[in-house]
């Protein structure tokens, strides 16, 4: 419940270094040419991992009220809805591509 969690400097540096390593990893996996579509899955997977670490430990959602976490998750749910419903249209058009 407490919104005043104080992280130790060591912990924050640990999170920062983890994010640096994951950034290096996301570049490094492009050197080994993973076949389609797994290269996209791996790249997005690492990005989701990094974003979760930032949200949990830099944005303090891990220690914060559950309400803020709910707000964040709901935004992602509606974002996925926006993607899903749009793709239901654009992927299945008989004349799929507009002129622009």
């Amino acid at each position: 419940m407490s919104g005043h969690h104080i992280s130790s400097a060591k912990f924050l540096w640990g999170i920062g270094i983890t994010l640096f390593l994951l950034t290096f990893l996301t570049v490094a996996v492009t050197w080994i040419n993973i076949p389609e579509p797994w290269n996209v899955v791996v790249a997005i997977g690492i990005a989701v991992g990094k974003a979760s670490i930032v949200a949990a430990f830099f944005m303090n959602l891990y220690w914060d009220t559950k309400f803020n976490l709910m707000l964040f998750i709901m935004s992602l749910v509606f974002f996925l809805l926006m993607i899903g419903i749009t793709l239901l249209d654009t992927l299945y058009r008989t004349d799929p591509i507009p002129s622009f």
């Binding site: 400097a9 790249a43 803020n68 707000l71 926006m82 993607i83």
Partner: protein, 218 residues
């Protein structure tokens, strides 16, 4: 005598409609999260555009992405993550009443944000020279795809909107430095640092997705 005065000073920030500092802090933070939700959906629209056009022209994205320099994209990712770290350290300094540390961390953050924008400027300038401009201003011949301008319209919209957020973030950090120097901020009232930090981390999170989606697909 001195204690009531000290107590009053420490509560200068408290608005009359809140019960106490904690309630005011939690309300401000929740308000910021609601704003971040709108930000996620704001950028979300652009991500949807990216996804729809990538599903229509997968080969275009692979071709056009070779024009983006992975090295500088990676450097900018490191720079932004570093700035997120210094913002987290700035919040920690404020929580511990280390105002000097707070100001130093804010200065480093501003510096890193400026490095990000300078790199972005050179990336943009390099493309403008080649005639890689958004939409109908596109005049580059180097990509064998008739819809090449679409990729770069999306690129400029996404990185441009993100860049505007970085610039606004720099402005907010300067505002925080001014507040810290006026000794407004202390362990009992660091709300502006906390919510600016949330904003800055979100800008970082968006770049974490932009980097692999735009630079790393070739």
């Amino acid at each position: 005598m001195s204690q009531p005065t000290a107590l009053k000073e420490k509560l200068d920030h408290l608005q009359h409609h809140f019960i106490d500092s904690d309630q005011q802090f939690d309300a401000a933070k929740m308000g910021m999260w609601v704003f971040l939700v709108t930000e996620i959906l704001f950028f979300g629209g652009l991500f949807v555009a990216y996804i729809v056009y990538r599903s229509w022209y997968p080969e275009l994205y692979l071709l056009a992405s070779t024009e983006l320099d992975t090295f500088w994209g990676a450097v900018n990712t490191f720079v932004l993550i570093g700035s997120s770290l210094t913002v987290a350290m700035a919040i920690r300094s404020a929580q511990l009443d280390q105002i000097k540390g707070l100001i130093i961390n804010l200065y480093i953050t501003i510096g890193l944000a400026c490095v990000f924008m300078v790199i972005k400027y050179f990336e943009y300038a390099h493309k403008f020279e080649k005639g890689i401009l958004p939409g109908s201003y596109y005049s580059y011949e180097g990509i064998a795809h008739e819809k090449a301008n679409i990729f770069f319209s999306i690129y400029y919209m996404m990185t441009g909107l993100h860049g505007v957020h970085v610039l606004i973030g720099i402005g907010l950090m300067i505002w925080l430095v001014v507040k810290a120097k006026r000794k407004v901020l202390h362990s009992g009232y660091y709300t502006p640092v906390e919510i600016t930090g949330l904003y800055w981390h979100l800008v970082d999170v968006i770049w974490i997705f932009l980097f692999p989606l735009l630079y790393l697909i070739d």
